[in-house]
């Protein structure tokens, strides 16, 4: 059982893979961390010594924004745009695509499930 960066308890997987369960750490950062701490690709989380776990934890605390902090940063950036009254902010407010994509069709990721329109039949 390894607890790194708050809540994440990935175990039995390779360290490089397990670290990616942390929000804000992907393949690139996971590899970077392993390199810094000196853990080889094929080591698994349950084979780590306590001091190695500690080292990983410290490395993440020191050099990366992760989990809650990262989510807060992102939310703040979006909120800044919304408060500013700029075009991108307006798009965020209305839940529409922000980067100029078409909305005539598609854009379902932002708009959510299609709402039926009364009287529209083929």
């Amino acid at each position: 059982m390894a607890r790194i960066a708050g809540v994440n308890i990935p175990t039995q997987k390779r360290v490089v893979v397990a670290l990616q369960y942390i929000h804000g750490i992907g393949p690139y950062f996971a590899k970077e961390i392993c390199g810094k701490v000196g853990i080889t690709e094929d080591r698994r989380v349950n084979q780590l010594t306590d001091s190695e776990v500690l080292q990983i934890r410290e490395a993440i605390d020191r050099d990366y924004t992760v989990e809650g902090d990262l989510r807060r940063d992102t939310a703040q950036n979006i909120k800044r745009l919304m408060d500013l009254g700029c075009y991108r902010g307006l798009r965020h407010r209305r839940g529409l695509p922000v980067r100029g994509q078409r909305t005539h069709t598609n854009a379902r990721t932002r708009k959510g499930p299609a709402k039926p329109i009364a009287g529209k039949k083929k």
């Binding site: 408060d83 500013l84 700029c86 075009y87 307006l90 329109i117 009364a118």
Partner: protein, 92 residues
């Protein structure tokens, strides 16, 4: 793709002159402009611009956060009032 840094931010030259004048208090009132493509510079902070949206001039008072955005971002060119059947009219 974002703009190359070595070019510096793009601003229509005349806007800089006008902003300087307005900041020194020589002229009163908002600066009317069609130059939606101009980046908002630090020396614009505190001024009010009238930015054209294709039909009218939209008043934009520049705050510190706006630096680095373009003037046009603050004057929407399209107004969507919702469909006739929709009960809730939207967009400001």
């Amino acid at each position: 793709m974002s703009r190359a840094v070595w070019k510096g931010p793009f601003v229509d030259g005349y806007l800089l002159d006008k902003a300087d004048k307005a900041q020194s208090g020589a002229t009163r009132g908002a600066i009317k402009t069609w130059s939606r493509r101009s980046t908002i510079m630090p020396q614009f902070v505190g001024l009010t611009f009238q930015v054209h949206n294709g039909k009218q001039f939209i008043p934009v008072s520049v705050s510190e956060d706006m630096v680095g955005h373009k003037l046009g971002e603050f004057a929407p060119t399209r107004n969507y009032y919702g469909h006739g059947a929709d009960k809730k009219a939207k967009r400001r």
